[in-house]
Symmetry: C2
Subunit: 210 residues, 2 copies
């Protein structure tokens, strides 16, 4: 685990901090598709993502979902951090998009390191900044763009994050992420196929050029 920590975070973290993380953090290997955090849960540790990708989503009272953003290697979920610090319940759900390796750090340590390590402070702040910017982009996307464009953006992001130009999702799953209906997604995908941007198959989509 040390090499991975070093490789991913060494530009942020000083050696004593790395040592503490090794000591206090708990390494988890999670397969794709697992819910590692859910709405309404209390959170006692925060995740540092060593490898893989995690999707973060929001749900309303009626169970309607919306993808907020993906977390990639070296990132952490600030919304979760915010919940930790405020000792409130989680506002979001996090699901592994690919197989992942995660270090879980207990909240108390996180607060302690805040005063103790400049590298940690910087990391936490940069994370907040990144998350805020991602959220702003999400807002832009749903406020200013139409579904065609949102779908294209979604597919691009998915290819990037999974590092695979075959998207292994059903139309229904995509519809949930974009908070729309399966019929609409099928329609738009067909349109993209006619434009030669992708090829549709059962259970996966081959992205050619978006």
């Amino acid at each position: 685990m040390e090499e991975e920590l070093l490789g991913t975070f060494s530009n942020y973290f000083e050696q004593p901090l790395i040592d503490e993380i090794l000591e206090e953090g708990k390494l988890m290997e999670v397969p794709a598709g697992e819910t590692i955090m859910d709405i309404g849960q209390y959170i006692r540790s925060i995740p540092l993502l060593l490898s893989g990708a995690i999707k973060v989503l929001r749900e309303d009272d009626e169970g309607d979902e919306l993808l907020l953003y993906y977390l990639a290697q070296g990132e952490t979920c600030s919304v979760t951090m915010a919940c930790c610090m405020g000792h409130t319940k989680s506002e979001i759900r996090a699901i592994t998009e690919t197989d992942t390796k995660i270090v879980m750090v207990p909240v108390q340590k996180m607060e302690e390191w805040m005063a103790k390590y400049k590298g940690w402070r910087n990391y936490v702040f940069d994370s907040y900044q990144n998350r805020l910017n991602e959220l702003l982009q999400t807002v832009d996307s749903i406020a200013f763009k139409n579904l065609d464009q949102r779908l294209v953006d979604y597919l691009k992001k998915k290819v990037e994050v999974t590092n695979d130009n075959r998207i292994r999702s059903t139309h229904q799953e995509i519809a949930y992420d974009l908070h729309t209906s399966r019929v609409v997604v099928s329609r738009l995908l067909k349109k993209l196929e006619k434009m030669k941007k992708l090829v549709l198959h059962r259970n996966y989509i081959h992205v050619v050029d978006l």
Copy 2:
């Protein structure tokens, strides 16, 4: 200024910090309707809101706007802070909604106090948390609600923030904030009037019961 600072922030800030703010901060009194921060600007100081309210909005490339949230007394704009810390340009526009009193604190001090004062750290974190949550609510609102409900929420919030149940806006201004057209706003407002929830007048709306 000291009394106002104390009144607003004394639950967060220790006395030496208050003293430093008094020394380093610059008090500004800004009338309603002024743009105090604009998209693309570099930011050299962050605002602490002593009194009044500020509206924070986002704009896309085509100049379409969307209200993100309001800042109230004792709050600060985390998106701005994030820009400061990352030394990037502002992602948002901030306009005074009412007459306001603001203390502007230079970025360097803010970073310095981060290591020095626990109260400041807590304040900054709570701010981030509040902003993230507000942004999540904004996302919920545009993703899951229809315009009727968004308009009602908007009017409620406006009454709360200005502490005035006469909303002094034209339909066009409301349309800009909600990122829709004037005609649509007029239509929905008329519907609300028929439901006895408000009374329409030229240049202002008398909110009765939403």
